[in-house]
Subunit: 253 residues, 2 copies
């Protein structure tokens, strides 16, 4: 098991707050839409509405990038698109490797949004020997044994993990050893990585559970004093509780 940090201490990267960085892609998307409609300039108010944020927040976000606006007029759309793209590093090509070509991995390989903004699916990797050579989204799947070579040859620095949870940490370790320094993890696992490696996770199950919480809360608001449901007898603090748990089996897996 790899030992290392799991959380980056929110390093204020080059003075730009993490929260701002997370919103830049949102602004960029809205700006791109305006650009396609040949809109020359946009005010912070309009752009904020399009991006679904507060206009003051948007202005403060942009202020971290520099003074790119013109008072009394607004922001030059094309210019801003370029500045944000550059800031995000989207002016260069980012070869990406997807490891774990199951349903989700294949879907991502086919996903148009991937290739659209400078990201290029450079390799598909799977542990199943039977899949090797099979073309998915026009790219031949390669075997895990060659992972190291594939990463090096293609200069991949961003890896996407769509393996089953049991394989995720191992794949992660191998990716990192091969030189990958950014990982997008779709497996429901807490990845442990060494310092300097960034990990972002996308967890469908967690998102649903958060929604369920609010949903339950909304439903419970009607009943004034909702029935809390008889809590199951708590295991006696001392008596360790029998081996065959008589606790209600809530969740199998």
């Amino acid at each position: 098991m790899a030992t290392g940090r799991t959380h980056r201490p929110a390093t204020r990267s080059r003075g730009i707050p993490e929260a701002t960085v997370a919103r830049l892609p949102l602004y960029l998307r809205a700006l791109t839409a305006l650009s396609e409609r040949s809109v020359p300039t946009v005010s912070s108010e309009e752009l904020a509405t399009a991006a679904g944020v507060n206009s003051a927040k948007l202005r403060k976000d942009f202020s971290y990038l520099g003074s790119y606006g013109t008072r009394g007029v607004g922001y030059d759309v094309e210019y801003l698109v370029y500045q944000i793209s550059r800031e995000l590093g989207l002016t260069q090509d980012w070869p990406v490797a997807i490891v774990g070509i199951g349903n989700l991995g294949a879907a991502l390989a086919n996903y148009g949004g991937f290739a659209s903004r400078g990201f290029r699916v450079a390799a598909l990797i799977d542990a199943d020997p039977a899949m090797a050579g099979t073309p998915v989204a026009g790219i031949a799947v390669q075997h895990t044994d060659d992972l190291d070579r594939i990463i090096s040859e293609n200069g991949v620095s961003i890896g996407v993990i769509t393996t089953p949870p049991g394989a995720a940490q191992q794949v992660c370790d191998r990716l990192v050893a091969a030189g990958v320094t950014s990982i997008l993890n779709f497996a429901p696992t807490v990845l442990s990585v060494p310092e300097g490696v960034d990990v972002r996770k996308v967890d469908l199950s967690i998102e649903l559970q958060i929604l369920a919480f609010h949903e339950q809360r909304k439903a419970g608001e009607d009943t004034t004093a909702e029935d809390e449901g008889a809590p199951p007898m708590r295991a006696t603090p001392t008596g360790r509780k029998g081996p065959d748990g008589d606790m209600p089996a809530v969740m199998p897996a």
Copy 2:
């Protein structure tokens, strides 16, 4: 276009902070793993490590749920699994409808993590008439025309949108009109929903762009005074700029 709030003002739901709610599924997952290994009790330190968080944060999170630990011993695993499950509303069944059965939608329908924790894929909906009746993950795809009826009959309150961006808002409006109050949006679009409806978004493109930012930053750290790249001539503040933009076309779409 629907008019309404886009952001919930972080309503401190029943006293449990939003940040804590977002971590509960993480704890639950770690606890479930311990439960399967028949571990009777766990300390905040151990559990925190497994979940990848600070132990003080974990204790404070649990303190919002009540005093479920035993000092000097730790937490009873089974009991805590039940309490968190109940708090998240996972003791009940949540029928989910997926709208937009393309690559991603089909992958989600097949995704095991969905069904595992009380969530059940109750319906698959697509706008393509040719898909109607086709079984995906053992469920027949139904046509968008029947959306309203499908939602009502199955008592769906959580909807998942995996349509192309252009259709997302319209689908969202229809889902909300049919009674859905929680939406998980995979389309790269800012959804506008009325008060009382929760929206969570999963955006692959945004995640990659955030990684690219940090990746670029890491790469740029080596070169002491990195070349900022000649900024393209800024559009003259007054002269509105020609219709055929001579700005470098950074991002096509």
